[in-house]
Amino acid sequence: MAVVDVDSAIAQGDPEKGPPAPGAAAAPGPARRRVWARRLQLGVPIGLIVLIVLACFLGPVIFDVPRPTNGDILESGLPMFSDGHLLGTDQNGNDILSRLLYGGRASLFIAVMVNLIGVVVGGGLGALSGQLGGAFDTVLMRILDVFIAFPSLVLTLAVAQSLGASVRNTIFALSFFSIPAVARISRSAVLRLRELPFMAAAELSGTPRWRVLLRHIAPNIGPQLLSFAMLNMGVVIIIEGALSFLGLGIPPPDPSWGNMIFDGQQSLTATPWLVVWPSIALMVTVISFNLLGENLRSLWSSR
């Protein structure tokens, strides 16, 4: 592509938006810095996420980390940089660093599973609904309306309560509100896509519906769903924390960032770091996923 559209160049008032023009001559100096800034926009969050994932899943394997549960009660409440306990211990003598890492495993696993279910089930249902239309679409949308009018946290609480607290049930409960959200997005994306001529061309040339769905729709709405899933990772991690915080998520003594914050809250005055550490872990993870999701979105939307 060699042509640079002047009209779109006019619209490009905001230096933060839009990709570099493919045919544009790369100018030296500040321009190159901007290209680098663009790469960092994806690089930094991806790097952070990789770091967090490695630390949580490989860290306890490679390094000799104390067990997250069944700590020695004699070692309770140790301060930071204690011997063998880098971040100290909690009221039960469990190593905080170890609990952070194992808690992260649970949070990340749950968030990934919930979003996977959301994208596969919700994305599939939404795309099908948009593609088929008719009664299927109407009924599905009515059901989603109910879920959307339903206060999501209340629903999650009730489901968690009725099924009991466990990792599996938490995933199930949280899926209740990731599926409708993804379904709506994918449905409206499909409806927008159907307006485009190539879709009509595919349909008119007799391509079977399932093939249209797989070959034309899935690759087109995929990026949108992926960036939503990244943004949603942060939301799920926060809500999973809230469930644990309310005592309905991962059952103690197994660690999760949410129940660590809850445990720490009880002695907030005396040992604030019990709250501070998991809070920081939670925040950095959520910010990383949010950054990645948003930068992916702006990258794709400006393409």
Partner: protein, 344 residues
């Protein structure tokens, strides 16, 4: 943003609106009636879902109240007393019938009428949500306007970094952080508790500061980012902005008189979509600050298997969501002449 989801309800009810077009000439009335009609199946669905989910929770209020040492006869008696011995369908229909006649039933635990329980708690939650909502808009609108005035400028950059961070903070983390700083370290504000307005306005507001901040901050970050990016979009892409500038209008005039009015639609939509999330966040905030609001009532209800209370609250929350979205639609009508004059 995925906020611009098209309301599919419109399509399904075209025939209805067609019938109404002849009957009612006022678009506002039409929208109200249309929305209320659409709310019926939604509320019915919510009631069924609520009842079904709660009925599948093991244990009931009778068992929980009498403890593990109770004899089966004792439990059976109390169950009969509370009406829990009836089949689920019967209980659902009784409850639904009560709702329709304005009778919300009685708590299985305290046997107080749920209406009075809600009436006691509602002012607390309403004050919290109202303050947080007003605060978040009062901050986010000016900040977004100033940021959009010079996109990429120093104010914009700082505001956007703060907003991006604030949006990523879990509400309960922020709440504890605020307690840690202002109540524990500085000691200037109470950490928990609630003083009714009727007792002491000053104490009431003092106790409200931290919960309101905890609730409002993520909200205001969200609104600021959305409004700012929508304003920048309007300024860069819309021709009417060029027209205004070509008249000789200054940047503030273009922003306030022209771009903001058009951006406000997006913001209103966002607020409407956000209600159910806001309700959930309020429940947690009330729990952290030990505020006797609806959220606390709900959590207590779940823990004591006081299902009538929980069902009523969920219906109330869903109704609030529906009503807020109705108000959003009406605001659209008031703000957007294209709808008001029925051409869209």
């Amino acid at each position: 943003m995925t906020l611009a989801s098209t309301p599919p309800r419109a399509a399904a009810l075209t025939w209805l609106s067609g019938a109404w077009a002849g009957v009612s000439s006022s678009p506002i009335l039409r929208i109200i009636i249309k929305r209320l009609l659409m709310a019926i199946p939604i509320m019915l669905g919510v009631s069924i879902l609520t009842f079904w989910v709660l009925a599948s929770i093991p244990g009931n209020a009778a068992q929980l109240q009498l403890g593990i040492n109770a004899t089966p006869e004792q439990i059976a008696t109390l169950e009969k007393q509370l009406g829990l011995d009836q089949p689920a369908i019967q209980r659902y229909l009784d409850w639904l019938g009560g709702l329709l006649t304005g009778d919300l039933g009685r708590s299985s635990v305290s046997s107080q009428p749920v209406t009075s329980l809600i009436a006691d708690r509602l002012p607390v939650s309403a004050e919290l949500v109202g303050l947080a909502f007003v605060l978040s808009l009062a901050v986010s609108i000016p900040v977004a306007l100033v940021s959009a005035r010079r996109p990429g400028g120093i104010i914009d950059r700082i505001a956007m970094v703060i907003a991006a961070t604030g949006q990523s903070i879990a509400n309960y983390v922020l709440a504890l952080l605020l307690v840690l700083i202002f109540a524990v370290k500085a000691g200037v504000l109470p950490a928990i508790g609630f003083t009714p307005i009727s007792e002491d306005l000053g104490e009431n507001l003092k106790g409200m500061v931290l919960p309101t901040l905890a609730l409002a901050f993520p909200l205001m970050c969200f609104y600021t980012r959305f409004l700012r990016s929508d304003l920048v979009d309007q300024l860069q892409r819309e021709d009417y902005v060029d027209t205004a500038r070509a008249k000789g209008a200054g940047p503030w005039r273009v922003l306030l008189r022209h771009a903001f009015r058009n951006s406000s639609f997006g913001l209103i939509t966002l607020v409407g979509l956000n209600v159910s999330v806001l309700i959930g966040v309020t429940v947690i905030t009330e729990q952290i600050f030990a505020m006797p609001g609806l959220g606390q009532l709900l959590l207590q209800g779940i823990n004591t298997r006081d299902f009538v209370v929980v069902q009523d609250l969920v219906i109330l929350f869903a109704a609030i969501t529906v009503v807020v979205n109705l108000i959003v639609d009406l605001l659209y009508v008031i703000l957007d002449p294209r709808i008001r004059y029925g051409s869209r």
